[in-house]
Amino acid sequence: MANCKPTTTGNVNLAVEVAGMRMKNPMLTASGTFGFGEEFADFIDLEQLGGFIVKGTTLEPREGNPYPRMAETPSGMLNAVGLQNKGVDHFISEIYPRIKDLDTNILVNVSGARIEDYVAVAEKLALLDRIPAIEVNISCPNVKQGGMAFGTTTEGAAAVTSAIRKAWPRTLIVKLSPNVTSIADIAKAAEGAGADSVSLINTLMGMAVDVERRRPCLSTVTGGLSGAAVRPVAVRMVWQVAKAVKIPVIGLGGISSGRDAIEFMLAGARAVQIGTANFIDPQVTVKAIEWMADWCVRHGVSDINDIVGEI
């Protein structure tokens, strides 16, 4: 991969490595919030990112859930998009050729309703040499017959992880659901089944009611909460998981600035993702990277890896 030239500001090294995937800096964008990267190309230079994760991809095309699919909540939002996507074959033939030569890491978020579907998607993606890692969504709370079951039990998480492990030769990231009693136990199960890294958190299950219409705001009644509102929950979970596993942890959930990203790294994250905050400021990622470099200078940190899990 050509994407290893580190971001250096003065003497600070921001480059990190997640289980074989080398990144210029710890900044990724979260699946489902960044399209295929192209949607943000007018606002930022995508090559300044450590990488970006394209939207949840399934074996077959999916139309997703009916409208309304989102509701704003205090410092956050609920979504019930329901994995609308055109399927992995469309990604491979139409999208991948357009973005593959970018000098950054392009990750695909893989979703499925059955283990065979996850495996089939991973096998197809394994043929693309510019995809250094996949992130397996075992936690999307929107799809009734979908990922929820895998992500909420240790057995389910282990089963899907070990099946994909056989089909995917490069970095395998398992994305965890926060809607569980002990996220550290699920993380350990994924680690034991061959995951190279875990990312967390996916959205928290939530609900909002339109009191004038006396109806749920979302067509699906419940949906996934994201944005600044979830950040303290996410920091806590990253801290717990980082203590429980040896593989690198990728932290996300409400990150809206460089300050927030540093908070996650101190709590144990090797890399971070920004999701919903991209909607509010489409340049938030590159601003956060700059802020992180300045923070390192102010704190006399010469290598950002030194602060990971300091807490």
Partner: protein
Amino acid sequence: MGKKQIFDAKITANHALSERYSMLTLQLPESVGEMKVLPGQFVEIRVTDSPSTYLRRPISICDYDNMTRVMTLLIRRAGEGTCHLCDLPEGSAVDIVGPLGNGFSIPPEGSSALLAGGGIGVAPLMLLGKRMKEAGVKPTFLLGARTASEILLLEEFSSIGDVAISTDDGSAGEKGYAADNSALSKHYDIVCTCGPKPMMVGIARNARRNGSPCEVSLENLMACGLGACLCCVEPTLKGNLRACVEGPVFNTDMLLWDL
């Protein structure tokens, strides 16, 4: 489509047009350059200082002058975010992303066009009417409102084309819904409409009956406005399309509405 930008614009005037509507005049910075704006496009505005407005608010571009970089926005007090915008003092800066979305079609010179707006839906029709006039199309405006005092920008619309009016209480123009106005009883080369959904459905039905092509501007709830989140989708013959990229303007032949 032109490049999307993010910039701070300065409010140079804020006029209350009625109790519920305000018109903001914004000076855009030099950095936006020759920004290409299509009639029907919108901007996403960040509303700060208000705890319940986390996401940006989509607002149609009412008018834009490329030479002076002056933009006007028409805003209806719907909730906290829009009230905050209506109350911003002159001189304040607003954080804007845009222009976003597609635009209405401009028919060939000499065509007939009906531009129907209900309530706040008249906003995009100002720039649309001006661009049509420049293209040699004389538009007829159909303005719908609850009552005479809420007919917005009547003078400005009258200087561009003919104006037909409907009010719910009959205090101006014809009494009743815009969708029932007699201006809709003939064929046009294009009918463009923006407003509450029941009104747009009524207008689209009439247009279809008279063999007129019809374009509607949708106000689906949006999160990103950039095509990334898939929250704003509208079911169409081509599947779920994003109102913020493939829309907000759709030809009604594409939609699954019951016309």
